[in-house]
């Protein structure tokens, strides 16, 4: 078993509305799994099913090869998008309470909290009430509470919202560190740059159906169009341009460069190799820039959602 979490054709209805339709995902152990989708696609419903907050109407979810059961609550840490803490409760008491609900003993929770509070340098917040903290500070507390019981599976729903760039980086590093220590992470976000940065695998849910699933690199390979971004310098621009246009499919390109040269996106067919294109170009002009166009996660997201 290399998958920590497997969902088998999970469906969920709310009255007449089908929130999830036969969705299957497999989250490999030790991966960071991006769960993507437009607003209202059904991501949160799936996450809630994994957390046993709601039950699926059809299908099953397995954690470590076992059907989900109440004991699994200890193995999961969940940071919901709609987050909050008891406002008038003190930070320390609150953390202890939430940790005990996850099955930690009081003394164990205390020593782990001390470790995290020292690590994040928030030790002097222990006796403050949540309402005395800023939103970002409260989010830090919430992060600590989520990971405190060392769960096998961490689920983060928009973990960086509300953080300034410095703290967002801090949290990102902590997530990566937790992965190093053996945790598996499900990561739901609308920020494609963090998907690009963090995720090994992604699944895209759209209108209650899973429309895309796999390793991020595989998907990118699948979505690439054999297009190359090219910057050329030549004394006879018009001639070179028309020669290229006669041989390949050409689109204008924009990128920053030092020279005022020819900038093109050149699409080659399946039978042509990048080397063929390069030798074709070197024969005609001086090549300053030659990059394969790789689709970004954002491009893939938009394209997939539009096509469905």
């Amino acid at each position: 078993m290399n998958d920590l979490l497997v969902a088998n054709s999970v469906s969920k209805n709310f009255g007449d509305f089908r929130a999830l339709n036969q969705v299957s995902i497999a989250v490999p152990k030790g991966s960071i799994f991006g769960l993507l989708g437009p607003n209202g696609a059904g991501k949160t419903t799936l996450i809630r099913i994994i957390n046993q907050i709601t039950m699926p109407d059809e299908g099953s979810v397995l954690l470590d090869g076992q059907n989900l059961k109440p004991e699994h609550i200890r193995d999961i840490g969940y940071l919901p998008e709609e987050r909050g803490l008891y406002k008038s409760m003190k930070v320390g008491e609150q953390c202890l309470y939430l940790a005990q609900l996850k099955g930690l003993s009081k003394s164990e929770a205390k020593s782990r909290l001390k470790y995290w509070f020292d690590k994040l340098e928030i030790g002097d917040w222990w006796n403050k009430k949540i309402q005395e903290l800023s939103k970002g500070q409260a989010q830090k507390i919430q992060f600590v509470v989520t990971v405190l019981h060392k769960p096998k599976l961490l689920i983060f729903d928009e973990p960086f919202s509300g953080f300034d760039p410095i703290n967002a980086n801090l949290i990102k590093d902590e997530i990566l560190q937790l992965r190093e220590e053996g945790a598996t992470v499900i990561f739901s976000t609308h920020r494609m740059e963090s998907v690009e940065e963090l995720c090994d695998h992604i699944a895209l849910i759209h209108k209650s159906n899973k429309v895309l699933d796999g390793k991020l690199n595989d998907i990118k390979r699948q979505y690439k169009t054999n297009t190359f971004e090219v910057g050329l310098e030549s004394t006879n621009k018009d001639k070179v341009l028309s020669e290229i246009q006669n041989t390949f499919e050409v689109l204008p390109a924009t990128f920053r460069n030092l020279n005022d040269d020819i900038k093109l996106n050149i699409k080659i067919g399946d039978n042509t190799s990048p080397n063929d294109l390069l030798s074709f170009l070197t024969a005609k002009a001086e090549v300053h820039h030659f990059v394969e166009v790789i689709p970004s996660a954002s491009d893939i997201f938009i394209q997939t959602v539009k096509n469905n």
Binding site: F14, N51, P70, I73, I76, P80, G84
Partner: protein, 437 residues
């Protein structure tokens, strides 16, 4: 994993440590006692005031009728004419002038009695005067028919019907009053408890929703555990508050009456006057003895056990509904439309208790309402002092428990879905749909 004790502990401590809860706990008995003290002090002040009423009786029939009492002096102005008498009363700033003009016969009397005063006189003074005059006139009329004063005195009798059930259980009027008092207090206590602490549960559910912590919590515990923990924790806080109120109220009452010498229990109200008359009629000693027998006549064991069960059952039934309402809405202002269906049966229960149980504790209406689960806790608690067959109590309790389980199931459904719903206020139709999620 059983988190219930943990949740109960948190709910209890949060409530008890809450500032406004502490303030209310200690301030309420103070305010109550202060109010009672002020009212009784003022009414005593009122009673202590001396007033003088002048009497101008031109008939001579009412001689010796008006005897000076502690608070009222009567001045006889016989011999003066009306205008002089009024002027004199005005000058002396007396309370008023009672004028009886000369009459030919006793029958014409009623049209010739008048009371003159600066301000309109108090009702009790006028009716007091009326009673005195009526009594004298009745005596005069009887004497005219040849009945002597001694015979009139001898004809006065006082009846206190002794009551006995077929089983030989003796009781009296005072028994019924005691029974009513016990039942009424029990029922009313439950009513107050449900309203105060049901609302508290509702607010605490809403708070969890608005602070958005709910999703974190229910990823660790089952919603029904959270709901039950809330209900139990809040109830314990409520019991604590009630206990402090009782103790503090008692102590304060004692201190206030000791320091200011105000007898709070003797606040003179019309009811108490009647009571006092009854006591005078029977003799205080006999009255106290009757009271003690009346209390010992009560089915005490039955009362205590039934109180505990019906109180818990009724309270849990209603508080789970309060929790469901809290889960269904986003803020307190939206609760109104859902509160009505809860308050209606509760208020109905109190009305049925007050109006029909007093009239006929075992009549059809009281019996039926003591079986309907939403009214049974209050109505049954009011009926039990009068002796209710055990099978009736058992059946009523069974129905209550059944409904309670159903209500918890229902509330848990609403709760489970509702706590994760934000934004719009749900309609009843939507609530019904949630039951099927």
């Amino acid at each position: 994993m059983n988190h219930l004790p943990l949740i109960i502990k948190r709910e209890y401590l949060t409530k008890v440590k809450n500032k406004s809860f502490i303030v209310m706990t200690f301030l309420s008995p103070l305010i109550m006692i202060a109010l009672i003290a002020v009212v009784s002090y003022l009414s005593q002040l009122n009673n202590d005031k001396q007033r003088t009423i002048s009497v101008l009786d031109e008939t001579g029939y009412l001689k010796d009728v008006f005897q000076n009492t502690e608070n009222t002096n009567y001045t006889n102005l016989n011999g003066l004419d009306l205008e002089d008498a009024i002027a004199l009363v005005k000058e002396k700033e007396d309370y008023g002038l009672l004028h009886i003009s000369a009459v030919d016969s006793l029958d014409a009397f009623s049209k010739n009695v008048k009371f003159y005063s600066e301000e309109s006189p108090s009702l009790s003074i006028i009716s007091g005067l009326e009673r005195k005059i009526e009594k004298r006139l009745r005596e005069k009329k009887l004497q005219k028919d040849g009945v002597t004063l001694a015979q009139i005195e001898a004809s006065k009798t006082s009846i206190d019907i002794a009551q006995e059930s077929f089983d030989g259980e003796k009781s009296s009027k005072i028994d019924n009053i005691v029974k009513l008092a016990f039942g009424g207090i029990a029922g009313y206590l439950l009513f107050m408890f449900i309203i105060i602490y049901g609302n508290m549960i509702m607010r605490s559910v809403i708070e969890e929703k608005t602070s958005r912590i709910i999703e974190v919590i229910i990823s660790s515990v089952k919603p029904i555990q959270l709901m039950m923990g809330k209900i139990i924790g809040t109830s314990l806080a409520g019991v604590t508050q009630f206990a402090i109120w009782v103790v503090l109220g008692g102590v304060l009452m004692f201190i206030v009456s000791a320091i200011f010498g105000i007898d709070l229990t003797q606040a003179s109200t019309p009811q108490q006057e009647i009571m006092n008359q009854a006591i005078q009629a029977q003799g205080a000693q006999a009255m106290a003895e009757n009271l003690i027998t009346a209390i010992s006549n009560l089915p005490i064991a039955n009362l205590v056990v039934a109180f505990i069960f019906f109180f818990i059952g009724g309270y849990l039934l209603y508080s789970s509904l309060y929790a469901a309402i809290g889960a269904a809405v986003d803020n307190e202002t939206d609760t109104q439309q859902f509160m009505l269906p809860i308050l209606m049966p509760l208020i109905l229960a109190v009305y049925v208790g007050v109006f029909t149980v007093i009239e006929d504790p075992h009549g059809t209406v009281s019996t039926i309402f003591s079986f309907i689960p939403f009214t049974s806790p209050v109505v049954m608690l009011m009926r039990i002092p009068f002796g209710v067959p055990l099978w009736q109590q058992g059946l009523s309790l069974l129905l209550l428990i059944g409904t309670f389980i159903f209500a918890v199931w229902f509330a848990a459904k609403i709760y489970r879905v509702g706590i994760l719903m934000y934004g719009k206020k749900p309609t009843y139709k939507e609530l019904f749909k949630w039951l099927k999620y």
